[in-house]
Symmetry: C2
Subunit: 307 residues, 2 copies
Amino acid sequence: MFTLAIHGGAGTLLRSAMTPEKEAAYLQALNDALDAGFQLLKKGGNALDAVQAAVITMEDSPLFNAGKGSVFTHTGMHEMDASIMDGRNRAAGAVAGVERVKNPVELARAIMEKTGHVMLSGTGALEFAKKAGLKLEDYDYFFNQLRYDQWTQVRNEDEFALDHNIQITEKKFGTVGAVALDRHGDLAAATSTGGMTNKRYGRVGDSPLIGCGTWADNSTCAISCTGHGEVFIRAVAAYDVHCLMEYKNMSLQQAMEEVTLRKLVAMNGEGGMIGVDASGNAALVFNSEGMYRGWRNEKGEEVAIYK
Amino acid sequence: MFTLAIHGGAGTLLRSAMTPEKEAAYLQALNDALDAGFQLLKKGGNALDAVQAAVITMEDSPLFNAGKGSVFTHTGMHEMDASIMDGRNRAAGAVAGVERVKNPVELARAIMEKTGHVMLSGTGALEFAKKAGLKLEDYDYFFNQLRYDQWTQVRNEDEFALDHNIQITEKKFGTVGAVALDRHGDLAAATSTGGMTNKRYGRVGDSPLIGCGTWADNSTCAISCTGHGEVFIRAVAAYDVHCLMEYKNMSLQQAMEEVTLRKLVAMNGEGGMIGVDASGNAALVFNSEGMYRGWRNEKGEEVAIYK
């Protein structure tokens, strides 16, 4: 059995703003990402490569808030976060607030494999990316008219009205992620994001935080989250799913519902998560209006946006 | 019942390098930190203020790797991390890689209370610190001959020998932290560090990561960790204690021993942690040669360094 599941963020366009053309483009992009990862799994490739390939496909699409489609920070830049985790040994890599890197998930992978560290940040992370030979892009690569327009709507907000800004952009939090089980029985997870529109002060959300936005352990599950990052951090959302499975013997679906539909809702934490367990079951759970998502294995597949 | 526990890092001087004079100075500094927090608890103050006061005392001492005593990064600077968490509502604040701030734990508190975010990083965090009116210091304030000498021993290592550097400085990882239960039955935790000697690339350890280095929830416990940060991240060490208590009904002591003496040891994660539960029991557990530590409540007190 091998399984791949992906998400392109719980911060979907409101149903009222979706057109048939836009919907078709999103569904196509999700299918492309599933194809990229699934082909590797089918050939016996490992879960780590599969989640990376799926995430890269979404990072390279302008439709999702990650890589090329990243939103604008308060200063008009693009600061990206990503993480990856290997279920075989809990090896993990993460990067916060990095600019210019074309595929932040590749940087997270390089950090995991080449540094002895788990997490690098900011200009130091960019310095390491250069040393590791990762592909960099210039400002123009990340420019996107839709994201720019979103940003100009909020960038002149009173600088102390940070909470207010979050409210305005709340439905726009976007993230991409993938989880996989490969033919060898190994799990992996990866998450990547451009963060929050008009982000300031080097804010870090849950996406690059191991245990919060990303988790993988062969004994339980692989998880990638998307949503209101601050609440996912305070809930240690991804690792909580692991603990409910390990300590309470819940199934993946039960544990993800407990965290997403009960605990996160009680903390006003809008969003969702995708997961795969060691038997290849996929689960995709969200408490928001929609979540760009898809899964595929030998038994079937699904790609969807709304409930 | 009210209880305070503190640590000044599991990266103690090796017993062979300790002198009676140095030992007396460390024990005095630990007592000073206990005094600062305990006086507040005695007067009915809240746990959050108590852990902050204890951590500030240690940040202001040159003996510990946090605040004034922070180690040197690869470029000869001081980049500090800190976090704080309120057990009443799981509110949390954290900062990674901030320079010049005299008391990073105060910055973590300000992030928790004033931004709507949990975690800020780098130059953005410094920008917010200025806006929040926190006290900044110049380079000279953080200069310390011992730390400088430690750094000069390793700064010229081959730039790719990152792992080797870590080995050399492994016994020097230092962190300070405090956990408390107040008279109102509320728990809080705080952690602060100057990071790793010769640190590069904006490396982030476990100290500013909620669930890894710091945790507080009135339903279970308050935890502050110290040790080989990368492993504590991959173990989600602090939140795992919470889960073992909540899901497996372990006591604080049992849960901390399970994580520190079994799980972390299996992952080669040297270090320790301190905790207080909702009944005011303190636990101080480490798998390293020593951990600067102390606790105090109405029943007793202890200050110690080695096993």
